[in-house]
């Protein structure tokens, strides 16, 4: 849309003020104490703050507890198949680049079965907010090990303890070409969660956010009893994610330049204490859908027919 037309939309009252209710759909059916509730609320607040029309937002998810989110958010939601949210989101972005997209996945959905799509989505840098709700277990299917399950934890498929060190998704994201945004937060730090999701929403490019989350049913002791005893360090920068004074009870701050990819990679590799906040941001990485749209010509119908005729000419023999 040209600037003038956009202006007229806003001025003419075609954009209504939306309340939080406008973004609520069904009553969430997550367990009591599940961090997913917080993420949902956070998302709804971001949508309201930006006053987006519910019909113009698309939320895409895979399969898992967290992937139920689109059912509870009043947008156009796509609850897809396990591990495949990112290709669907890419399809939406490629065909309707004017619609903002938020992708919600769990740790198994994104890092395990969806791993290939995850890696490539970072490189595509589609303009979307990608939230991984990492509770370090497969909760919907009742407790199987996930790539991020901590060392030695007992699950139904590893009843005598896990075999491998958990994967560090942060360093993987930092290692992929075209990475443009990486942040980590936790559901037991609601103010931080809000700010992080807002920052992710404002970023132009693939905003990858890992949200640590404790499953109260299957992993009640995870993350040091849900964050009480979980060492974190808050990354601080003028343009980063603000650290409220109350958060300092949980951990210290550390000055961090999120524009420096080397510094971000160094921070990403360290897991203890867990770095919270904006690890990396580069607003200038082009988004795949823009690159494709800019190379495309969109001719009017007459030109379309002419060109089709010209294409057939190449194969004409008489």
């Amino acid at each position: 849309m040209s600037t003038l037309a956009e202006l007229c939309v806003i001025e003419s009252g075609a954009v209504e003020a939306h309340s939080l209710d406008d973004y609520e759909s069904e009553k969430p059916r997550w367990c009591k104490g599940c961090g997913d509730h917080g993420v949902l609320a956070s998302l709804q607040r971001v949508l309201r703050k930006n006053n987006l029309e519910p019909e113009n937002v698309v939320s895409v998810s895979g399969i898992g507890c967290s992937s139920r989110l689109p059912h509870y958010l009043n947008t156009y939601g796509f609850h897809g198949i396990h591990g495949r949210a990112l290709p669907i989101a890419t399809g939406v972005r490629l065909s309707r680049p004017e619609l903002p997209v938020v992708v919600i996945m769990g740790d198994g959905d994104c890092f395990s079965i969806g791993g290939n799509h995850w890696l490539h989505a970072i490189r595509y840098n589609i303009n979307a907010v990608v939230l991984v709700l990492d509770n370090e277990v497969y909760a919907l299917t009742k407790m199987q090990v996930s790539p991020t399950t901590p060392d030695g934890w007992k699950t139904k498929t590893t009843p005598r303890g896990t075999y491998l060190q958990p994967m560090n998704p942060l360093s993987i994201v930092m290692g992929m070409t075209n990475v443009s945004f990486l942040a980590q937060t936790a559901t037991w730090l609601p103010a931080h969660l809000d700010e992080t999701i807002e920052k992710a929403w404002d970023h132009h490019g693939l905003s990858f956010v890992r949200i640590l989350q404790r499953c109260p049913v299957f992993m009640p002791k995870a993350f040091g009893d849900g964050g009480l005893n979980f060492p974190v360090v808050f990354l601080e920068h003028e343009d980063g994610i603000p650290v409220h004074p109350l958060l300092l009870k949980r951990g210290e701050t550390q000055a961090h330049n999120h524009c420096d990819i080397n510094e971000a990679q160094r921070v990403a590799v360290n897991v203890d204490p867990a770095p919270m906040g904006l690890l990396y941001q580069d607003p200038d990485v082009p988004a795949y859908e823009e690159i494709r749209w800019n190379r495309q010509d969109r001719p009017d119908h007459q030109t379309f027919i002419q060109r089709l005729d010209a294409a057939l000419d190449r194969y004409t023999v008489s």
């Binding site: 849309m1 040209s2 600037t3 003038l4 037309a5 202006l7 007229c8 939309v9 806003i10 001025e11 003419s12 009252g13 075609a14």
Partner: protein
């Protein structure tokens, strides 16, 4: 004089007309798509449409009539209601006519003179703005229609009374400017007052205040105290919602600043220095630069929308060395006696006036007796008593390499003092030189200095105490040894 800003005004007009045309074209396209979609929805299941969409292969395999029936069944018609259809078609027509009108609008510089009656100017401004408001009105209605949000009950009334006052600042920014030309040479108090009167109406007009002479006319005064005349640079203080720009060709971003001034949604005053009749471009460029350097024509931008505080909105950065009072130059050459002379001279208004024809009579040769001569900069700082009988002079470099002194007349000294006070005020209100800030800075330095001192002093005292204690302990221990030696008895510890 108009020529100075002609280019900028025409550029802005051209840009805005193009933008309006584009927006109209876009809205027309979107409305036409709406109709096309409606037609598609109504007829896409007609057998002939289906046949066309399916192509030749379908004919053998499918019975198009049957398909038409199957698809048509149960499809709720989501076609556009007839009243809305009619509205859309009329809207397309209106927009098309407007687009035509705007594409043939001349972008030639057309302006109104300040001399006209105030009422007349206001009426013309209203007319101009309402002409554009009609376009925005149509665009808004179009966008509502396109989003199916147009409701006759509410919107018909709303748009019946639509005039430029309903436009938002972003829209006003895109209105081609309504320019009022004012000439401020000579005594321009009345013009300033008229300008302020017009600006009070809050109509977003652009008043171009042009002048080629920098000589002010003051009523006679006995002293060089700050005269009580209104200067144009003080306008933002009085009218904080008005965009003010003072600039000339000496500004490397001249055209850019003009463009910004002309596209502000606020009522604006654009003060521009113009060449004299017949003045050559090169000579004028040089004169404009000198005027800026002497603070005779300081360049400033006051953009009320730039920030929250006044100080942040007022920008003096286009001036050379805005943080100092005067720019100093090194003059070197020979004095009338032939002796080589090198001196640092502050470039004041009087120095500027030395090269201006209209001030030729205000600078005279100094008398033979030199003891009453005081440099201009000092003179301006003297108290009334100190100034009695003194003659202010300026040192100038002649084209032949000579360094001469000229005495400044009281009239010129008056304007010099006035300009000095103006420049100081501008510095303050733009946050460059603020006594409050200075005091705080000094206090902080002092405090931190004092703190340092106290710390050092404390440490010293501690050390002394420690030293004293050790000394005492040493003495006591020595005494004990002596006692033992002398008496053979250990004293109690």
């Amino acid at each position: 004089m108009k020529e100075q800003i002609r280019q900028a005004v025409e550029d802005v007009w051209r840009h805005h007309c193009a933008a309006l045309e584009d927006a109209l074209a876009e809205s027309i396209g979107e409305l036409q798509d709406l109709l096309r979609l409606d037609d598609y929805k109504r007829h896409r299941h007609d057998p002939d449409r289906l046949e066309r969409a399916l192509g030749p292969l379908a004919a053998t395999n499918l019975d198009v009539g049957s398909l038409s029936r199957v698809l048509g069944k149960g499809t709720r018609s989501r076609a556009i209601a007839p009243e809305r259809l009619k509205r859309v078609q009329e809207l397309i027509q209106t927009l098309g006519e407007m687009k035509q009108a705007w594409s043939t609008t001349s972008t030639d510089f057309d302006s109104v003179e300040l001399e006209k009656e105030e009422n007349e100017i206001r009426e013309l401004a209203e007319e101009h703005l309402n002409r554009i408001a009609r376009v925005f009105r149509a665009l808004r209605i179009a966008q509502l229609e396109i989003r199916s949000k147009y409701e006759s009950e509410t919107h018909d009334a709303l748009f019946a009374d639509f005039d430029w006052r309903q436009l938002g600042p972003a829209e006003l920014r895109l209105c081609p400017p309504f320019v009022v030309m004012a000439r401020l040479d000579g005594d321009h108090g009345a013009q300033l007052r008229k300008m302020m009167s017009l600006l009070e109406s809050r109509v977003p007009m652009k008043i171009a205040a042009l002048r080629s002479s920098l000589r002010e006319a003051y009523s006679p005064a006995s002293d060089i105290e700050v005269p009580s005349t209104m200067t144009i640079e003080m306008l933002p203080l009085a009218m904080r919602g008005v965009y003010f720009l003072q600039t000339s060709v000496a500004d490397p971003e001249f055209q850019k600043h003009l463009f910004e001034g002309l596209t502000s949604p606020r009522p604006s005053v654009i003060s521009v220095l113009c060449p004299h009749d017949g003045e050559e471009q090169a000579a004028f460029q040089s004169r404009a630069e000198r005027a800026v350097r002497a603070r005779a024509f300081p360049m400033c931008v006051y953009d009320p929308d730039r920030a929250d505080g006044f100080v942040m909105c007022f920008d003096l950065s286009s001036n050379p060395s805005p943080d100092v009072l005067w720019i100093t130059e090194t003059l070197s050459g020979c004095d009338p006696q032939g002796q080589p002379v090198e001196t640092e001279e502050a470039f004041t208004f009087a120095h500027f006036a030395a090269s201006e024809a209209e001030f030729a009579t205000e600078l005279t040769d100094p008398p033979a007796v030199a003891d009453q001569l005081i440099p201009m900069t000092d003179y301006l700082g003297f108290s009334r008593r100190q100034r009695v009988g003194k003659l202010p002079f300026v040192t100038l470099a002649g084209t032949d390499g000579s360094i001469v002194r000229k005495v400044v007349s009281p009239v010129l000294a008056l304007q010099c003092s006035d300009r000095l006070h103006l420049w100081r005020t501008l510095q303050e209100i733009s946050g460059i030189d603020n006594p409050h800030v200075n005091t705080t800075r000094a206090k902080l330095e002092q405090e931190s200095g004092a703190q340092q001192e106290a710390l050092v002093k404390n440490m010293q005292q501690e050390m002394e105490k420690e030293a004293a204690r050790r000394e005492q302990a040493a003495v006591a221990s020595a005494m004990r040894r002596l006692v033992v030696r002398l008496t053979g008895v250990e004293p109690p510890p």
